[in-house]
């Protein structure tokens, strides 16, 4: 039994929590696929770091906080994982944060975006490779805001929308723009024309939109002929599934977090190639890259500690750690462990042979430019 103990000692276990069923299942599946590829890449196919085997165990949170907690506890107690990675929804992730602290295990947050994860609810075991709402907002502002530009905003009336707009406003006003109108709509509504009408009345230069989920207003924006009235639309180009619904926004300028053609680096090239190989020619998507990033961050940290799993050591190592990812170079900020990262100012274009609008790079917004305010001190 001494043998097993030592081989246990030699294995590094990572628990990956993601929504594999329910409304976010596409996200979760991408994360898992990306994570696997990321391990492969970072360990060069050996699945070993500093001579120790790396294993990962996937659990489905079903996008229910209670299930997430149960599964995470199972990972921590029964599988005795050394790291947690997850998860697809902010709610699940927030529910998991205290567990990381309780079990003193590092949790790499990917791809949940809520600011409070690295803000108010943060603890020192939390590292986030995914970008947060504020980064989106800062990038969004950087893409369009400048002196004397009038901007109206439109978002879902929930935490995600409100938080995103608040951060955007701060960023945009810093750049000299004025926010002339803020609209929030019931996320379940069928009809957004009243909100759009109100925006049209203000005659802004830009309309900045924060929207996640299915019930998007793109079609109605087009129907209401915003472009014709001189109002340019700007929003985040997210995953491919959402891009597929954004046909009517072709020509808009906004920002992208990831698209397989965007970050021009060798990690991404590898990802695209391997992903196509493995998945029948399919291109990797936003959360695939995210999953890969999470894996890389863990392996890189372990490489630096030479396989030492001591948590405090790992935390010190990871703070300020820079690492190459398919989303470009990243750096865990020491204060709140948020990974600073590049985002991309893009326009949406139609491309031959692609069934969705393609984000085309205008310029890279580097990690300094998109650095969000530190909010975990409050």
């Amino acid at each position: 039994s001494g043998d097993t103990a030592s081989s246990e000692e030699e294995t590094i276990k990572i628990g990956v929590l993601a929504s594999l069923t329910g409304p976010l299942e596409t996200y979760g599946k991408q994360t898992v696929a990306g994570f696997e590829l990321g391990l492969d890449y970072a360990t060069e196919g050996s699945n070993e770091v500093a001579g120790k085997k790396v294993e990962f165990i996937v659990e489905d949170t079903e996008t229910k906080p209670d299930v997430a907690v149960r599964k995470a506890t199972k990972l921590l107690e029964e599988d005795e994982v050394d790291f947690l990675v997850g998860s697809s929804s902010s709610g699940d992730t927030l529910a998991l944060l205290p567990l990381a602290e309780e079990y003193e295990k590092i949790m790499v947050v990917e791809p949940a975006v809520a600011d409070s994860i690295t803000g108010k609810n943060w603890n020192k075991y939390i590292f986030r490779t995914g970008r947060n709402s504020s980064q989106d907002a800062v990038a969004g502002a950087a893409a369009i805001a400048e002196k004397d530009v009038k901007i109206a905003t439109f978002a879902q009336d929930n935490a995600y929308g409100r938080e995103g707009i608040a951060a955007f406003k701060e960023g945009a006003e810093k750049l000299g723009a004025t926010i002339v109108n803020e609209q929030y709509a019931d996320p379940n509504s069928t009809d957004f024309t009243a909100n759009i009408q109100s925006i049209i009345n203000e005659k802004p230069d830009y309309l900045y939109i924060v929207w996640a989920g299915s019930n998007a207003p793109w079609k109605q924006l087009k129907d209401m002929q915003l472009e014709e009235q001189g109002i340019k639309i700007s929003t985040a180009a997210q995953d491919i599934a959402s891009l597929k619904t954004m046909d009517s926004l072709i020509g808009m300028s906004g920002f992208s977090i990831y698209y397989h053609t965007l970050p021009d680096n060798k990690v991404n090239d590898w990802l695209v190639e391997e992903h196509k190989k493995k998945f029948d020619g399919e291109i990797p998507d936003l959360f695939t890259a995210g999953g890969m990033t999470a894996a890389i961050s863990i392996v890189e940290a372990l490489k630096k500690t030479e396989g030492d799993k001591d948590v405090d050591g790992l935390i010190t190592t990871m703070e300020n750690m820079e690492f190459e990812t398919p989303k470009g170079k990243m750096k865990f900020r020491a204060e709140d462990h948020q990974a600073l990262q590049s985002l991309y100012a893009v326009t949406l274009e139609e491309q031959e042979g692609v069934d969705h609008p393609v984000p085309v790079l205008i310029r890279e917004l580097n990690m300094e430019e998109t650095e969000p305010p530190i909010r975990n001190g409050e």
Binding site: T26, Q220, D223
Partner: protein, 289 residues
């Protein structure tokens, strides 16, 4: 003024769209006294199959016809296997159709995957009319026209034929109606199919309206339809139409003038109506208490 007209037109067309959804439910709920929670499931199926057929065939009419047909087939299955054993028992209907709802929404993902799907319009319905400041989306006009026509057709069916009477009697005493030589089972199936077809049609028409469809919208719209039917008064077609218009128009105006309250609007409307006039706006006296 432009704003007012815009809001009104959009509100009315949203209202009529909701009416399409509610009409099927009113028929089933009001006439047969069946609480069909799976209505939302039929609605999503209508939306997805409509979008899919349009994408494959590029014919909008075919898409509509196809989705109605699919809705009816599913409606038949529901009626035959889920509803028929529980006619007359509200609680069980509610519970069993809830199961139907779960299965219908989830099975969408088997066919079309878990992601939302974009829905296109035929060229002749694309775009909008613009008269200085007033923007009227073409498709909304189309929806208004279809909604009004359907209202008329249903009204004629219920008031000019004896079907309505037979069904109402059938709900009260099924055996006795059979004893009068009327094939109640067939009649109920017919009404149910009609309701299912309407739900699917509502879905097919809503899909291009918002531009995307997703599997989870079923529950959301099932609840909306219930709200409208109850606000209008159970079983009253006029009531449902009125309630749909109120919900649509009030939604548009609230979102414009009091956006903060719009999240709670439908629920507030429902609560107020139930507390002030429990039978709904045009409901029969004494049916709610």
């Amino acid at each position: 003024m432009e704003v007012f007209i815009n809001l009104l037109v959009n509100g009315v067309s949203t209202g009529l769209l909701i009416f399409l959804l509610a009409a099927g439910l009113t028929l089933i709920f009001g006439l047969m006294s069946v609480l069909n929670f799976a209505h939302g499931g039929l609605f999503v199926w209508g939306a997805f199959s409509g979008a899919w057929i349009f994408k494959e065939t590029n014919s909008f009419l075919l898409a509509i016809a196809g989705s109605i047909a699919i809705g009816m087939v599913l409606g038949w299955v529901l009626e035959r296997f889920l509803i028929r054993p529980v006619y007359g028992n509200h609680v069980r209907q509610l519970l069993i159709t809830l199961g139907g709802m779960l299965v219908l929404s989830e099975s969408i993902k088997i066919f079309w995957g878990p992601n939302p799907i974009r829905v296109n319009l035929p060229a002749w319905l694309e775009g909008s009319y613009q008269f200085d400041g007033i923007i009227i989306i073409k498709y909304r006009v189309f929806v208004i026209v279809v909604g009004l026509l359907l209202y008329l057709a249903l009204w004629l069916l219920l008031s000019r034929t004896q079907i309505g009477l037979m069904i109402r009697a059938g709900v009260l005493d099924k055996e006795m109606v059979q004893a009068l030589g009327i094939n109640v089972k067939g009649l109920f199936t017919f009404v149910f199919l009609l309701g299912a077809g309407l739900a699917a049609l509502g879905g097919a028409l809503l899909a291009p309206y918002s531009g995307v469809v997703f599997a989870e919208m079923g529950m959301q719209y099932a609840i909306l339809a219930f709200i409208v039917v109850i606000i209008g008064g159970m079983g009253s077609l006029q009531g449902s139409a009125l309630a749909s218009l109120i919900v649509g128009v009030a939604g548009a105006f609230m979102a414009y003038y009091m956006p903060d309250l719009s999240l709670a609007l439908n629920m507030l409307l429902l609560a107020t109506v139930l507390l002030v006039k429990p039978t709904g706006l045009l409901g029969e006296k004494g049916s709610a208490v």
